[in-house]
């Protein structure tokens, strides 16, 4: 039902394997989304999840993050089941979903102050420079409801620049970005992979990242 086609061939040994899923099965409304799904995510790898609309890409990502528990199978984080070490797993995880987690009444800077401090200590300089880098200079103090959808997406992407998380799980991060934003995000993903972090991303966009592997659903 599903297949893994990897550009970078991965050795069978578990050295450097960050996240591994075995025999994943998920069913929604009596429809099997995926079954017998196996894959490994190694350090420095970018895994793009592909599939048609409704094939369960978002569900898969939410399952991996622990937001959805209606699945069968095993998900291991460095060889250990994620439920057994939830706090350590959450500390190294950064998830940005369809709903990007940006409060509309708060300004970008206030949003980042909170969402980052849930994980790690940040200072104002880091937040300011991240916002500047994603092109939100001059909008730091504006309430987010005055920003466009793409700009709100950029607020959430600023978290990528601040976050030391080893695993990024991104659900359609490219949708509302302009061409420049797309190129910038690609290079951010590449930097993460170079630094030994991993990315799991769903997008219909053609990524040009050397560390890229593909996982096809449905």
């Amino acid at each position: 039902m599903s297949s893994v086609a990897s550009n970078n061939s991965l050795d069978a040994n578990s050295e450097g394997i960050m996240l591994s899923a075995r025999q994943l099965f998920c069913e929604r409304d009596d429809r099997v989304l995926f079954q017998n799904l196996d894959f490994d995510l190694a350090e420095g790898q970018v895994l793009q999840v592909q599939g048609s609309n409704g094939s369960g890409k978002t569900t898969l990502l939410r399952i991996l993050c622990g937001l959805n528990d209606s699945y069968a199978g095993s998900i291991r984080w460095y060889g250990q089941e994620i439920e057994e070490q939830a706090a350590a797993f959450f500390a190294s995880l950064l998830y940005i979903g369809h709903r990007v987690g940006v409060s509309k009444v708060l300004s970008p800077i206030e949003n980042l102050r909170w969402s980052c401090s849930l994980k790690q200590a940040v200072n104002e300089d880091q937040i300011m420079s991240a916002l500047k880098e994603v092109g939100l200079r001059g909008f730091e103090e504006s309430p987010c409801y005055t920003l466009s959808a793409g700009q709100q997406q950029r607020v959430s992407l600023a978290r990528l620049l601040i976050s030391p998380a080893k695993l990024w799980v991104l659900d359609e991060p490219f949708t509302t970005l302009d061409t420049k934003g797309v190129a910038q995000l690609e290079s951010i993903l590449q930097d993460q992979a170079k630094a030994g972090g991993s990315v799991m991303v769903t997008t219909h966009h053609q990524l040009t990242i050397p560390q890229l592997s593909l996982l096809s659903l449905g």
Partner: protein, 229 residues
């Protein structure tokens, strides 16, 4: 990549600060339930009787019921916006115990919805001709009772936040759980009026508050996980 993970207390404070900031920026959500409370209470002297004897009798009950209804009105703000914009998912994915983060949200909710009601209650008690000696008991009972309502209501809101149209379901879940608070709160004031000590009732409310503080956030956290699933 060397930033340190925050301590739980820092995450707690950040969440508290954020929610207070949101309340400050969305004043309508805070002011509406408060105005509702004042309007409902002020309707009673007009609708029933302006005679102070009659009002004295019903004063405690009227204030307590209005507090309960106003808290129903304000509860919905607790998780709804966070659910819709995805902040709730971020909260759930924090490495810190969800108990404390939910508690921070509950405390912030009480500070902006419960505390103003407690502070204004002596004024309304005066309007309802409640004898002066009962003011302190009323304020104390509200001070103990309103946080219980916030904490208990939070469970119901967390359970229903994922539902599209909730209608009355929030009230159906919350009100039965709030009835004991209502009973003890009004009894405490009544016993002061009958020149008895209200301490028994107040200490029962204190017990209820301690139990809610220690257990309700756990239930809310579990309910949030179900709602986001």
């Amino acid at each position: 990549m060397s930033e340190k993970q925050t301590t739980t207390s820092a995450a707690f404070l950040a969440t508290l600060k954020r929610d207070l900031l949101i309340a400050f920026k969305k004043k309508n959500d805070v002011v509406n339930p408060f105005m509702f409370f004042i309007i409902v209470v002020s309707l009673f002297p007009i609708g029933i009787s302006p005679e102070s004897d009659r009002l004295t009798e019903i004063a405690a009950g009227v204030i307590w019921i209005s507090v309960l209804l106003a808290s129903m009105l304000s509860m919905d703000n607790l998780y709804r916006a966070d659910f819709e914009d995805g902040s709730l998912e971020q909260l759930l994915l924090s490495p810190h115990p969800l108990f404390f983060l939910v508690l921070a949200k509950n405390i912030s909710h009480w500070l902006v919805s419960g505390l103003p009601v407690v502070l204004v209650s002596p004024l309304l008690a005066y309007m309802l001709a409640l004898p002066e000696e009962a003011y302190l008991t009323l304020v104390l009972s509200l001070l103990l009772g309103t946080p219980i309502m916030s904490l208990v209501g939070s469970i119901a809101v967390a359970l229903t936040v994922g539902l599209g149209s909730r209608g009355l379901i929030l009230a159906v879940i919350t009100l039965p759980m709030s009835v004991p608070v209502l009973i003890f709160g009004t009894l405490a004031v009544q016993s002061t009026l009958n020149s008895q000590s209200p301490l028994g009732y107040l200490s029962l409310m204190l017990v209820m508050l301690s139990v809610s503080v220690s257990l309700a956030p756990l239930a809310s956290a579990a309910a949030l996980k179900i709602s986001v699933n």
